[in-house]
Amino acid sequence: MLAALQKWLARLTLGVSSLLVAWVTGFILYGVGARYFFGSSPIWFDELARYSIIGAAMIGVGAVWVEGAHMRVSILEKRVAPPLRRVIITYQWVLTVALAGAMTWFSYEYVGKVGFFKTPGLQISRSWPVAIMPLGFGLLFLLALLNGPKAMRDQVVEGDQ
């Protein structure tokens, strides 16, 4: 039940994140086109593109964690005795849940603090883009919590940049 919920949530968020990547690519192309055909692109152009990419990245953080695709080194973890390995895995889990939880709270509070700043392009309250953070870290918190202290999936391929 919990595992199914986790799986479903991860797929959904990664789907949203993929759609945002597609949208940004299209949107930047629109910006280039607008400049050539209409002479100028809207003043909020690069701001919206930036916030969309940040959205894609933050919303996916939890799902990527579930997939075990965050960069990490798992050599030592595999070579220690099983009891120690269990300790390490529990520690990894507790720490991830705690940090994700703390960060969700901090960034939620921060959303309130920056409300009176307006973004220079879109002229919206800075709270809107910043709200992506509690959302992203909240998802990480939830997905990690649902996971329980299990060994993280191994990366098939380690990405760099």
């Binding site: 400049r35 692109s41 690069d46 700043f117 307006k118 800075r126």
Partner: protein, 314 residues
């Protein structure tokens, strides 16, 4: 603990007037008080908005640009009205003695619960237009051109003159100008040199667009913790450092313009009539834009009264 002073730009007193100001302030204050100032150039302590957030929340000094100051006091935008000042002296007395700037300072202190705008720091004189192939003498020359614009007020200004405005981040300005992505931009001579824009721009029009300045802001709690004596020394030091910076900026602006003229740019100085035309066409669009911001009319009226130009508002 030393108080941290954060600002933009390189720690190079020759190229960065704000650094010169910071350095001078540090020297005077440390000579006369036990206060220690630590300098953080290059936006090391964060971007404009981040530094402003931190200055309002914890002991810190910060030199902010409009990007940092205006979210707290959008009223400050009035002082950025294009073609407003005829000379640096006019700009200085506007900030030093005018009623409008006093109102902005009061609004800032009130909204931040005690933090203060301590000084208006000069950066590099008037902004000038630069353009690639077409020389700009009058507003009519803007017709159909593409310019770099960084906020809606600049877009309004360009559109009023028949051009269009497109946002280009500073790191991409050089190649955007070179490749014709945009055909012009505005900046003080200092930034034209820093960005090597003279390599890709043929014309510079000294239309006194806006006067470039930044704002020294101090955290309220920290200011309140100072003894009366230290506070008085700090204020005197700010004035002294500011005067020195002004003298330096004044001296270097002409040098820079000469340098640009010697390094590939044709410098155009519009006549008084042409400047009046810029004012006539450029200002109303900006004042209209001010109307769309949450700015009380009294600020706009006070600013133009300070300049003795209240008739421009009609």
């Amino acid at each position: 603990d030393p108080i941290k002073l954060g600002y933009n730009g390189a720690p190079d007193a020759k190229k960065n007037a704000v650094h010169y100001f910071a350095e001078t302030l540090e020297k005077i204050v440390e000579e006369k008080t036990d206060i220690e100032i630590e300098l953080f150039p290059n936006s090391q302590l964060g971007s404009e908005q981040e530094r402003m957030e931190n200055t309002l929340a914890s002991p810190m000094l910060n030199v902010a640009s409009f990007a940092g100051l205006s979210p707290v006091v959008p009223e400050s935008f009035v002082s950025n009205t294009p073609f407003m000042f005829g000379s640096p002296e006019e700009a200085r007395s506007f900030f030093d003695e005018g009623k409008y700037w006093g109102m902005v300072e009061a609004a800032f202190a009130e909204r931040t619960g005690g933090s203060e705008i301590l000084a208006v720091v000069e950066e590099g004189g008037f902004l000038a237009f630069t353009s690639t192939d077409k020389a700009i003498h009058t507003p009519a020359d803007f017709d159909g051109m593409k310019f770099r614009a960084m906020d809606p007020s600049q877009v309004a200004l360009y559109e009023a003159m028949g051009a269009s405005g497109t946002p280009i981040p500073w790191t991409e300005v050089y190649s955007a100008l070179q490749t014709g992505v945009v055909e012009g931009q505005m900046n003080p001579p200092l930034y034209i040199i820093l960005g090597s824009l003279n390599e890709v721009q043929k014309y510079m029009t000294r239309a006194n667009v806006q006067y470039s300045m930044q704002f020294l802001v101090g955290n309220g709690e920290w200011l309140a913790s100072l003894s009366d004596e230290d506070r008085a020394v700090l204020e005197a030091a700010v004035v002294e450092a500011n005067n020195k910076t002004r003298a330096k900026v004044q001296a270097t602006v002409e040098e820079r313009v000469t340098w640009l003229a010697e390094n590939g740019m044709e410098v155009i100085t519009p006549t008084a009539d042409q400047l009046a035309e810029f004012q006539k066409i450029g200002q109303p669009s900006f004042i209209n834009w001010l109307g769309t911001q949450s700015i009380d009319k009294s600020f706009i009226e006070a600013a133009f009264a300070d300049l003795g130009k209240s008739d421009l508002l009609k």
